[in-house]
């Protein structure tokens, strides 16, 4: 019995040398960060439509935490930065400072048409036409706004193979 449990749960005895942890080959599993994933969100000038969908993720229909994701208040705890809005010039610095405050490895997701390309605000004097103009973006989630399923899918993509990035 102990041997079966040992096999299943990788139990060991004190003093025993650790068996090397196998890497999981499924690239879209949150396990690639080797822990559940914390998300820091920055609204860089969205119309607040995308915020509504991000908030909906926390609701019982989607139950985000069950999928291994959690929104966090501090960028210091965050693995993934979600950004909405076309990046207004007035929010650029706050966005960069939030990104800087995150520990590597970290990933950036552009949420919504505006964050992907500027959306309806593209071309304005006051915006940068998307997150990619100021930060390296790992995953783009288009939509106006993208629905919670699209957001979940994008989050799972971002949590995938982190080693292939030069973080």
């Amino acid at each position: 019995m102990y041997r079966i449990l040992q096999e299943a749960w990788r139990l060991g005895k004190v003093g025993e040398s650790l068996s090397p942890v196998e890497r999981r080959s499924v690239t879209n599993a949150p396990g690639f960060f080797h822990h559940s994933i914390c998300i820091r969100h920055v609204d860089a000038g969205s119309c607040n439509g995308c915020e509504q969908e991000l908030q909906a993720l926390n609701g019982p229909h989607y139950s985000l935490e069950q999928s291994g994701f959690r929104f966090t208040a501090s960028p210091r705890h965050a693995d993934v930065l979600t950004v909405t809005g076309p990046v207004t010039r007035h929010m650029r610095r706050a966005l960069l400072e939030t990104h800087d405050a995150m520990a590597a490895p970290k990933r950036v997701i552009a949420v919504g048409d505006c964050a992907c390309s500027g959306g309806v605000f593209r071309g304005s004097y006051a915006v940068r036409d998307g997150v990619a103009a100021v930060l390296p973006v790992d995953v783009f989630i288009p939509g106006c706004p993208p629905d919670p399923n699209a957001l979940l899918h994008g989050l799972q993509q971002a949590s995938g193979d982190i080693d292939s990035k030069k973080d």
Binding site: G45, N48, R89, A126, C144
Partner: protein
């Protein structure tokens, strides 16, 4: 009829359209007098904005829209290019203060007598002598950095300390900065600093066609998209002088009420959550999500974006949809009733929300508050009640009102309005007229100005539009948050810092709609 005292000041003529609008030009000397007359009669300032008219009439214009008992009074001043000044309205309508500061940032017209001349929407990304709403605005020397120094009205005290919050907040909300001065836990003063979400929407409108303009209007504040899209459509239809099919008007009202319900559900859950009652958040989020899924299924978009457009609506309801929506409305009312009992009997929640974040009726009247916040402080304003357009003129909307002015009052207004909107939904679904959902708009050659005015879920949304041969030459969307944000600074005084999220959520104002 317009008040005779206003008629004496100048020529006001009535614009045709769904909204009663009296418009007229004023001399700068009469600007203050007209505002005073309107205030004496219990009116309010709705919006204030400006326009570069150098090409057509070699002048700048400052517009002010007031609410009077006879409808909207829309007045404007002509300002010579060498003067660039106009008299402030802040002594009569305090809500004018930030609007006048923004007007300077965007158009370079200075309100003389406004005792706050700090930049409001301009942070430093464009030069001080550049003004984005002028036709000669130069986009070459836009700066990448940085917020310029903003002189807060701080009062240093040796005992107290400061808590700066934002623009990035802990939750999933929009960007803005709040500077708290606290003594122990008590908030002595709170000052807002906005403009982080400034996207240059007003300049983007310029030159757009009506269809693109409608899409942009629906994204001024995403949670209020129906109200903005409808207000924009009203303005276009007023200029084009078309009457939209009745079925389209009823479907628009259905969208507006469903948007109101969705937002009120979300707010009630979030207020509960900020008071530590996660149960409320889970329950209301679940109800809201089902509601949004019905939006997608029967209307075509979870938040009803682009459903209302100039000329009509972009969807139609099948008879089966009408039946299903009627049933789901009934079911929602039962759920909400049950939750209202639980929330109102929950001691822990009541401890937090009763007598928290109070705005007295006197202060609310002084500041000209309206919408949910105004109605919770005994300000009985609701366009659907006082100035009903089709179909509200046939629906007899009941006004939700409370006198307490605290977080609990703002919650109870939301409960009342959910019930009333569900009743309206039932009325609309029961009596939905047959007919077309859209009328063809021939606007290629149309020029002129129009105004739209819709009671959104936060409060009234105003949209002023000038079309030039079917293209937008100026559009000013106005969010109720302009008037309501300053009230939040007052509401938090003498409360503790931990109550701020709760009070803020009970207002739930728009940053995007304000920063433009």
């Amino acid at each position: 009829m317009l008040s005779p005292r206003l008629h004496a000041l100048g020529t006001f003529h009535r614009q045709a359209g769904a909204v009663t609008v009296w418009s007229g030009k004023l001399h700068p000397d009469q600007w203050i007098i007209a505002a005073q007359i309107i205030q004496d009669q219990g009116g309010r300032l709705l919006a204030l904005w400006g326009e570069d008219q150098l090409d057509e009439t070699t002048e700048y214009r400052v517009y002010a829209a007031f609410l009077s008992e006879s409808g909207i009074v829309l007045t404007y001043l002509s300002i010579e290019p060498h003067l660039l000044e106009f008299p402030t309205l802040t002594d009569i309508f305090p809500a004018a203060q930030r609007m006048e500061r923004a007007l300077y940032d965007l158009l370079g017209l200075r309100a003389i007598g406004n005792n706050d001349q700090r930049a409001w929407l301009r942070h430093g990304s464009w030069a001080e002598h550049q003004f984005p709403l002028r036709k000669d605005f130069c986009t070459n020397d836009l700066s990448e950095d940085e917020e310029s120094h903003y002189p807060f009205h701080t009062q240093k005290s040796p005992e107290g300390h400061e808590i700066p919050v934002g623009p990035v907040h802990a939750g999933i909300i929009e960007p803005g900065h709040f500077l708290f001065q606290v003594l122990g836990e008590e908030i002595l003063r709170m000052e807002e600093r906005f403009g982080y979400a400034h996207k240059g929407i007003e300049r983007l409108f310029q030159g757009q066609e009506v269809v693109a303009g409608g899409r942009l209007a629906g994204r001024v504040s995403g949670d209020n998209t129906v109200a903005y899209a409808w207000a924009f459509a009203q303005a276009v239809e007023q200029i084009a002088q078309v009457v939209v099919p009745e079925r389209a008007q009823w479907l628009r009202a259905l969208c507006l009420e469903r948007e109101r319900i969705a937002n009120h559900l979300g707010d009630l859950g979030a207020i509960g959550n900020d008071a530590g009652l996660a149960f409320a958040l889970t329950q209301f989020q679940s109800l809201k999500e089902d509601w949004l899924r019905d939006h997608l299924r029967y209307f075509g978009h979870r938040y009803l974006m682009d459903r209302v457009r100039p000329g009509g609506v972009a969807f139609d309801l099948e008879p089966e949809a009408v039946t299903t929506l009627r049933q789901s409305g009934q079911l929602l009312q039962e759920h909400v009733d049950r939750l209202q009992v639980i929330l109102s009997e929950h001691g822990g929640l009541r401890d937090r929300v009763v007598n928290t974040g109070i705005i007295s009726a006197e202060r609310a009247a002084h500041q000209g508050l309206m919408g949910v916040v105004g109605r919770a402080s005994n300000q009985p304003w609701d366009l659907r009640v006082q100035f009903p357009s089709c179909p509200y003129d046939q629906l007899n909307v009941r006004l939700a009102q409370s006198t307490d002015g605290d977080v609990a009052a703002r919650m109870s207004i939301r409960f009342m309005e959910i019930a009333e909107s569900l009743r309206l939904q039932k009325e609309i679904l029961d009596h939905l007229p047959e007919g077309h959902i859209e009328i063809g708009l021939d606007i290629e050659s149309v020029s002129g100005t129009g105004i739209g005015w819709v009671e959104g879920w936060r409060g009234e949304v105003v949209m002023w539009l000038r079309l030039n041969h079917g293209h937008i030459s100026r559009c000013h969307p106005h969010d109720p948050s302009w008037t309501l944000w300053p009230a939040l600074e007052e509401a938090v005084l003498q409360d503790i810092v931990a109550d701020f999220p709760l009070i803020n959520k009970s207002f739930n104002l728009s940053y995007s709609g304000h920063d433009l």
